[in-house]
Subunit: 106 residues, 2 copies
DNA sequence: CGTGCAATTGGTTATTTGGCCAAGTGGCCA
DNA sequence: TGGCCACTTGGCCAAATAACCAATTGCACG
């Protein structure tokens, strides 16, 4: 395989991998509505705050979210407005095989 | 978090995770052009055939590809025509932070 | 100033992943 | 029917992931 192609695929894969986790997907959905502090996201997800913080680091390193410190709190927001299309694509896969996957997930 | 929501997020994450790997991304791109046998995909990726076969299993379990045996060969094709949007979304993330990510990938 | 909350970082552990090799399966043809 | 393809599966191992707890940092406010 061509080296440039491999680099490009690796970068794309990194972005996809970053959102390929239930908690991080949840964070992205939430941030698509409005910015949130770590506190609120932690409450929503129901995991340890340190865990959520690490998820946010992953999203940040993939270039998906940005953070801003205001006082004692840190607010996160999406860097990219149009992640909607990504979910559409995922949905189109799910429509083809919704039943089997629903079963597998339970 | 709501249980139904968690299930949905888990399923979405599984689909994303399935494509979140350079080799599997490469396979998906290739299959979006035309069907391919394992042989050809192996050649293209340059890994062991057993490795490629396992990648294909991951994609199949996520409902992204389908396989069909014809004679001694097995042909894979996309089950979903419109993964293009998914790549568009990934691209939109990359545009925002292309330089940093390119560096990180090298 | 020091206590207390918000968040991150480090450490540890269990699980998952991704790779190769070796062995097994199934079809085709000489 | 024997052997060679095209694949898949199982085993193994190194590395990455995800979770929690504990310790640390940074800010604010009494």
């Amino acid at each position: 395989m061509n080296k440039d192609r491999l680099i490009k695929l690796t970068i794309q894969a990194r972005v996809l991998k970053a959102v390929a986790h239930p908690s991080r997907l949840c964070i992205v959905e939430e941030l698509s509505k409005r910015e949130r502090c770590v506190c609120e996201l932690t409450e929503m997800i129901g995991a340890d705050m340190s865990t959520v913080s690490k998820h946010l680091t992953v999203l940040k390193q993939a270039g998906i979210v940005a953070d801003e410190k205001r006082g004692a709190m840190v607010f996160y927001r999406l860097r990219v407005p149009c992640l909607g299309k990504l979910f559409e694509s995922v949905e189109s896969v799910l429509e083809c095989s919704a039943r089997e996957l629903m079963e597998a997930a339970k």
